[in-house]
């Protein structure tokens, strides 16, 4: 290392690697590679696992010898190696279950690390609030919050998917590595302090999602939606990238905070500033699905396998909004007069169009897709408030939406297993009598999506309204209420079908699926909807304290 440093010309410095800050990404990526390795090793799975143990021991030794790493880190690395070996020995004949268990463990570890980082940051510990690793990584409140939500969504997605993927014969071994790698991309995106990292994070998470949406290889709808997603995703990435290029041209840097300050300088050519912001806005609007850049959402949500849709709705939205928040609210606060009017109009149109189009849908997945569009509009209000309250409200809204969407798409996975087809509203008739618990939970999620008091949806919407009024955007709050009233119609329509209508004969013969991992996942989401709806202050406080951007 030192010999190398001597050869470097003046002014070139090797950056210090903040291992602690990037450990969640390393954990997720490492777990992804491990699961992939164990899947492809076939009969030699146990040997592969032993090799992985040796590799982890080697890393632990490398970390321990210079005496820099804390003993707990070394212990954790050794522990991870031993645990994966033990699991492989136990489950070596059931590769998918092994993959699922390891994936859940990796997500749980990520939550653990994020909790430790949050604790450390709160105590002024090793996790700094400024960008690290040559100004590429920001481990700030927004990043930590996103890590929690993404990893939690990942665990529930694994639970939802297992039986569903088996039934559809699409339980490929690559599914779990892809899930972990998408999550890697999301955490990278959420902790990007540089526009280049924003671009790479978006590409990583999108690329893995394209493959996951197309994992049902024999299903034409899945393939077409995956390709549509890829084409429009690449198209929007080009716009985002053009915007980044113009920001680089105007400021000479891609570091978000520095570039934001430079852009606000009156000496910067105004044309570059406007065009750069507009193009980046188009790119982000595509990614978070604001009208008129939403047309991929319903198709992709409908075509992708339902557990993948659940993960897309819950986690992608959080990660994309985290980057949106960091670049716009965090980086370009002084330029708010340029982009706030544009985003406000987009948000208002999105709320109305999303809700109206959802009303006319019959397929439930498609309906929830349009409802996701409307919810993106609600979350965007917190963005245009350009305040800590607004950022906190958006973050809390995204957490709430993640829980609600995981729950409702989870119910759909269970019902699709039962009826072996896509679910329309007519297929739900009489579910209240046949499977009261399932129907009650679905009703709970729908009521929460509609924003009925007592659920997390209400608290989240209330927070958004408060942020909007606080920022003087009363008209947006009014639009939100109007949109919610329209949206309530179709949520109620589903509930009426479940509880008021008679069950048709062809449905009565179908067995109600037994309790499974998916129902556990859905139940967890249901508990979260009520718990966050009843005792929210602590979490809202957490979300508001998470509204920090690293410089």
């Amino acid at each position: 290392m030192s010999a190398l440093a001597q050869q470097l010309p003046a002014g070139v410095e090797i950056p210090e690697i903040p291992w602690a800050a990037i450990s969640p990404e390393l954990t997720l990526f490492g777990a992804g590679i491990l699961v992939l390795l164990l899947d492809t090793a076939g009969e030699r799975r146990r040997s592969a696992s032993a090799i992985a143990l040796v590799a982890l021991l080697g890393i632990a030794a490398l970390a321990a010898i210079p005496g820099e790493a804390a003993p707990v880190v070394v212990a954790l690395l050794i522990g991870a190696g031993v645990v994966q070996l033990a699991l492989t020995l136990w489950l070596h004949t059931r590769p998918r279950l092994l993959g699922a268990v390891l994936t859940v463990l990796a997500f749980a570890a990520t939550i653990g690390i994020a909790a430790w980082q949050y604790q450390a940051a709160a105590n002024g510990g090793p996790v700094a609030t400024e960008s690290l690793l040559a100004d590429m990584v920001a481990v700030d409140g927004v990043a930590l919050f996103t890590r929690f939500v993404v990893a939690g969504a990942g665990i529930i997605t694994v639970l939802l998917g297992f039986a569903y993927l088996q039934d559809r014969r699409i339980h490929r071994g690559e599914y779990y590595p892809l899930l972990l790698l998408t999550a890697t991309g999301m955490t990278l995106l959420a902790s990007a302090a540089d526009l280049l990292m924003v671009f790479l994070g978006i590409e990583i998470l999108s690329l893995a999602l394209y493959v996951m949406s197309g994992i049902a290889r024999r299903d034409m709808a899945s393939q077409e939606s995956a390709f549509k997603y890829l084409l429009l995703g690449a198209f929007s990435s080009a716009f985002l990238l053009y915007g980044i290029a113009l920001v680089y041209g105007a400021t000479g840097t891609t570091h978000i905070a520095t570039a934001g300050a430079e852009l606000a300088d009156p000496a910067t050519p105004a044309g570059l500033v406007f065009a750069g912001i507009a193009l980046m806005l188009v790119g982000f609007a595509f990614k978070v699905a604001l009208v008129p850049f939403h047309m991929w959402t319903p198709d992709v949500y409908q075509g992708a396998p339902t557990p993948v849709t659940a993960f897309m709705a819950a986690a992608t939205k959080v990660a994309a909004f985290a980057a949106f928040l960091r670049v716009f609210t965090g980086g370009m606060e002084q330029l708010a007069w340029i982009w706030v009017p544009a985003v406000s109009v987009l948000a208002a149109v999105t709320m109305i169009v999303g809700a109206v189009l959802a009303v006319v849908q019959d397929d439930l997945k498609r309906m929830l897709g349009y409802s996701a569009v409307a919810h993106a509009g609600y979350a965007a209000i917190g963005l245009v408030a350009v305040s800590d309250i607004g950022t906190g409200a958006t973050l809390f809204y995204l957490l709430a939406y993640a829980v609600m969407s995981l729950g409702s798409f989870g119910i759909l996975t269970i019902l699709e297993r039962r009826q072996r087809k896509a679910i329309a509203i007519a297929d739900l008739r009489g579910l209240g009598q046949r499977a009261p618990a399932l129907a009650a939970m679905f009703a709970l999620f729908l009521l929460s999506l509609a924003g009925i008091p007592g659920t997390v949806g209400f608290i989240a919407k209330f927070g958004i309204v408060r942020a909007a009024v606080d920022a003087g955007l009363v008209w947006l709050a009014v639009v939100l209420v109007v949109s919610s009233v329209i949206a309530a119609y179709f949520y109620i329509r589903v509930i009426v079908a479940m509880f008021m209508d008679e069950e048709p004969a062809h449905l009565a013969d179908l067995p109600v699926p037994p309790a499974s991992a998916a129902s556990t996942g859905v139940s967890v989401a249901a508990v979260a909807v009520i718990a966050l709806g009843v005792l929210p202050p602590a979490v809202i406080d957490l979300a508001e304290r998470a509204a920090t951007f690293a410089g």
Binding site: M220, A226, F227, L230, F235
Partner: protein, 101 residues
């Protein structure tokens, strides 16, 4: 008799717009995908021009990453296209003849 940097930016803007129009008007999925590649290339041209204007190599490094991303995207995109056509060929008998050509 010399070239201001703006000319390169105009050329890049033209290529970007042509690519965007191509995505909107073409029906062949492969050609649409090629048009997206053209757009990414024009962004690279912009980045390289700005690197020269700003006298820093960062723009060239960014362009380098864009090339990596484009290559990865093409791999997945073409895999999807091949699968899509294969599926269509096996489900739609009318198309099989056309595909065999």
């Amino acid at each position: 008799m010399s070239v201001p940097a703006g000319y390169y930016l105009i050329l890049a803007a033209a290529l970007f717009s042509i690519g965007a129009v191509g995505v909107l008007i073409r029906r062949s999925v492969i050609v649409m995908f090629m048009c997206v590649e053209l757009m990414l290339n024009s962004v690279n041209l912009t980045l390289v021009t700005f690197a020269r204007i700003n006298a820093s190599l960062d723009g060239q490094v960014l362009a380098f990453f864009v090339i990596v991303v484009a290559a990865a995207e093409v791999t997945v995109g073409l895999a999807l296209i091949v699968n899509l056509f294969r599926l269509r060929a096996s489900t739609d008998a009318d198309q099989v003849g056309a595909l065999r050509a």
